[in-house]
């Protein structure tokens, strides 16, 4: 029997440009960028310098505070440039890729035979350990702290949802091996979340608890299910792993190669023909954009709610598997604040008298930042048992005790993405939660 979770608070935003379940070949990018900022919480210590030759899977940099956390090259090639920002902070490492990847040889380890430490070691050496996120704090996991449970959400409920069933259909065996590896490393219970309204290949995965999720977005977010089955406090740890990462781990153990090629969805109303492509993380997207995406689009690595604007610097972020293109939307709207005549966006409020009118969602902020005034809108998209406005205010002033009491350990910034969207005060709530989590981490170690 499956476990079920049903929520009613939340919001489904239907956007144009859902990616067809269709894979199209694209030419391999010539440049790849690895951004240390993708590895949240890692202070990079460089191992390579400009001009070095690297193989796919060789270390680029490691975490200053824990040298076991290694970040490895997604492709083989020559380090072309190390771009630094203020205070010499490393912004990205550019690799000029070889025409075909040369892989670093990792010793083959049979998951069934190996012991826990061997597997952990392999994950750390290959850089695949950085694919594991830890809750609380939503940061890269600590190899010393084993989790009580692992949550894998194979149900993307966000707008223009990424279809894990399609993306991993041919890799279910890899996925199963990845599960075995995770199980051995953690000795923890593994939960998989799948769409309650349809049958999924992941329902048949062995050695896991399947949770069927019903309701609007964010029902696919792991936090919803963690709250129900393994509620968190500061001493309880759970891991969150993306299904794609699990499959990559599986194929790594089978081949001994760090091959990170994955299906990436090209979606959004500015994509001419939305579809999937198979590329590696960090890929330069300029060629793909030229052929597929209309001009004057905002390019997002990730989905529209949690993704990052990469219009000016179009590289796929390391852990993202979706590229979204929407209209950039830079036009002032004459008395656009009048109710009932504005755009027909999904809203908590009922300001639209013509719901049949289609609207293209663009990146307009649609107003200016103000103090929190309205609160029911925030509550209406927060299915977790917390008071979002109170938690956000505690995060604003950095009150550690209050944040703990109000449930900061149970949330990740992504759980507030819909609050960003819905807030009439235009306050960036995801950023506030991230700030709050950082503060907790500093204060509580």
């Amino acid at each position: 029997m499956y476990k079920t979770v049903k929520i009613s608070k939340g919001l489904n935003i239907n956007l144009k440009g859902d990616a067809d379940r269709l894979l199209q070949k694209v030419a391999r990018s010539k440049i790849f960028a690895v951004k240390p900022t993708d590895f949240y919480g890692v202070t990079p210590k460089l191992v390579v310098k400009v001009g070095d030759q690297v193989k796919a899977g060789e270390v680029l940099f490691f975490h200053k505070k824990d040298d076991r956390i290694k970040i490895t090259a997604p492709v083989s090639g020559v380090i072309e440039e190390i771009v630094r920002g203020e205070k010499r902070k490393i912004l990205k490492i550019l690799i000029k890729a070889d025409a075909e990847d040369i892989y670093k040889d990792f010793n083959l380890v049979d998951v069934a035979q190996a012991d826990k430490n061997q597997i952990l070691n392999q994950l750390l050496e290959s850089g695949l350990f950085t694919y594991i996120k830890q809750r609380p704090y939503d940061i890269i996991a600590n190899p010393d702290d084993m989790p009580k449970a692992i949550f894998i959400s194979a149900y993307d409920s966000a707008p223009l949802r990424y279809d894990y069933d399609f993306a991993l259909r041919k890799r279910l065996a890899d996925f199963q091996t990845g599960i075995a590896a995770l199980k051995k490393v953690s000795e923890a219970k593994i939960y998989i979340i799948t769409n309650g309204n349809s049958v999924s290949d992941f329902d048949k995965i062995k050695d896991v608890e399947v949770i069927k999720a019903f309701g609007p977005h964010p029902v696919g977010n792991p936090s919803i299910h963690i709250e129900k089955f393994e509620p968190l406090d500061k001493n309880t740890i759970v891991w969150v792993v993306n299904p794609i990462s699990v499959a990559l781990m599986g194929s790594f153990f089978k081949t001994g190669k760090y091959n990170t090629e994955k299906y990436v969805a090209l979606s959004g109303s500015k994509v001419k023909k939305p579809h999937y492509v198979s590329i590696k993380p960090g890929a330069d997207l300029s060629e793909i954009i030229k052929n597929n995406i209309e001009e004057d689009a905002r390019l997002i690595s990730g989905n529209v709610l949690t993704g990052q604007n990469i219009t000016k610097d179009p590289f796929l972020n390391y852990f993202d598997h979706q590229i979204t293109a929407i209209p950039s939307g830079k036009k002032p709207r004459f008395i656009g604040w009048l109710p009932f005549i504005g755009e027909n966006r999904k809203s908590f409020y009922r300001f639209n008298l013509s719901p049949w009118r289609k609207v293209q969602y663009d990146a307009s902020l649609y107003g200016e930042e103000r103090a929190f005034v309205m609160n029911e809108e925030l509550e209406s998209v927060m299915p977790l048992n917390i008071y979002p406005m109170h938690l956000l205010k505690a995060a604003m002033i950095g009150d550690v005790e209050k944040m703990e009491q109000l449930g900061i350990f149970e949330v990740a910034p992504e759980d507030f993405a819909l609050l960003d969207y819905i807030s009439s005060s235009k306050i960036d709530t995801q950023e506030l939660i991230r700030k709050g989590l950082d503060e907790m981490k500093i204060q509580l170690g």
Binding site: P159, P231, D233, K234, N235, R298, V304, L305, N309, I326, S328, G329, K330, P332, R333, F334, I335, G336, W337, L338, P339, G342, E343, R345, S347, Y349, R350, F351, D362, A363, S364, L365, Y366, G367, E368, R370, A371, V373, M374, N375, E376, E377, Y387, M389, Q405, L406, G407, A417, L418, D420, Y421, I422, S423, S424, S425, K426, D428, T429, Q430, E431
Partner: protein, 382 residues
């Protein structure tokens, strides 16, 4: 609207950083954003946003107040011309009232927005939209004969002491509009109560009577109005509060758009009805005997519950809290009415009181959530 856009763009450099009038930027931005929703796009956070901003929310409340405002103007004329005794048309009544009420509205907005702009410029933050609503609410809850200087003083008091000292819109403890009324009521009682303030006094009227219904009841007399008049609102009272029908039209708009909390409105009326029913059972004096459902029709109760109690800043902010908050406003409003006829307008005091108590209600509701969590933490730790 290219012309207007060009106009704003032409003067923009003057107000930008390094411009001649850099300090006045909040004022420029307030004007510009009133004409145009700026073309700003999202930098951080979710890459798409709802098309709703505070201007739209606040303006919806202003829209909801329009029926009561227009009716209020007509009623001012109607009450006056009835006292005069000559025949008149509805249009004449409206025009008379219009010229009585418009100066109040203008003074309220000019003084209030002037102070808001001043504080925004001094503090270098944007002008918040909160006063759009307060600016209209304040004249609507005043007697029409209020001298403009008292109105201006009340507005200044409520904006400065009620709002800006706490940090502006979103931070205030009590409803600014009610604070303005309370200020006028306690500082200048002779202009705010009695039987001569609700209707402009005709110069040569012999039998002038302009007492509010609650005033009549408070003196132990029976009232001469039918429930229909109470419902439609052609009775003496503050400008906007008399017509329950017009208030309900506004309420319908607020509830349809979901701008105001239905929980507060419903529980407010329930609380008032319950308290009035209890008083009906005792029936010791005219106010106690006044039928409970008519309590909901007279005075400022409907206006207060629909437009003031639902102010999201000063109300409770949790769902459970909203039920308690609204219910207690209803209870106290009728209780103050009946027990203390010297202040027949119980709803003003009830809402102000509950504004102050609201954070405490929220505190206990949130504390319940915290306690549950802490209990679980301790269990997990053990």
């Amino acid at each position: 609207m290219k012309f207007l856009e060009n106009f704003f763009n032409k003067y923009k450099p003057l107000f930008d950083e390094g411009g001649k009038y850099e300090k006045l930027r909040p004022a420029y931005m307030a004007m510009y954003t009133f004409a145009f929703v700026p073309g700003e796009t999202v930098e951080k956070g979710a890459q798409i946003r709802d098309a709703v901003d505070l201007k739209r929310v606040m303006f919806t409340v202003v829209l909801a107040l329009i029926p009561a405002t227009i009716f209020g103007m007509w009623n001012v004329g109607y009450q006056y011309l009835t006292q005069v005794g000559a025949a008149f048309t509805n249009w004449e009544a409206f025009v008379y009232g219009f010229w009585k009420v418009i100066p109040l509205i203008i003074v309220s907005y000019v003084v209030g927005l002037g102070i808001e702009f001043y504080f925004a410029i001094v503090r270098g933050h944007e002008v918040n939209e909160g006063y759009l609503v307060s600016g209209l609410l304040i004249p609507l809850i005043m007697p029409v004969t209020i001298p403009l200087w008292i109105l201006a003083l009340s507005v200044a008091f409520s904006v400065i002491i009620g709002k800006e000292v706490f940090g502006g819109t979103g931070m205030n403890i009590v409803n600014p509009a009610l604070l303005a009324r309370a200020f006028a009521f306690f500082a200048y009682p002779t202009f705010m109560s009695g039987n001569e303030v609700w209707i402009p006094k005709p110069e040569n009227a012999d039998a002038y009577s302009g007492e509010t219904l609650l005033g009549v009841l408070g003196q132990g007399n029976e009232i001469a109005y039918t429930w229909k008049e109470m419902f439609f609102g052609n009775i003496p009272g503050s400008i906007g509060e008399t017509s329950v029908l017009m208030i309900l039209i506004g309420a319908a708009l607020l509830l349809f758009t979901k701008v105001a909390s239905w929980r507060i409105m419903l529980s407010g009326f329930l609380g008032a009805a319950l308290m009035a029913i209890i008083f009906n059972l005792f029936g010791a004096n005219a106010l106690m005997r006044f039928p409970w459902w008519q309590h909901l029709l007279v005075g400022g109760l409907a206006f207060g519950v629909v437009f003031m109690a639902t102010d999201p800043v000063t109300a409770t902010q949790t769902r459970k809290g909203k039920w308690i908050y609204g219910f207690l406003i209803g209870i106290f409003a009728v209780m103050i009415r009946v027990f203390n006829p010297a202040y027949p307008e119980g709803v003003m005091l009830a809402i102000l009181l509950m504004n102050v108590v609201a954070p405490t209600i929220d505190y206990y509701v949130v504390q319940g959530n915290i306690k549950k969590r802490m209990k679980r933490f301790n269990k997990q730790a053990a």
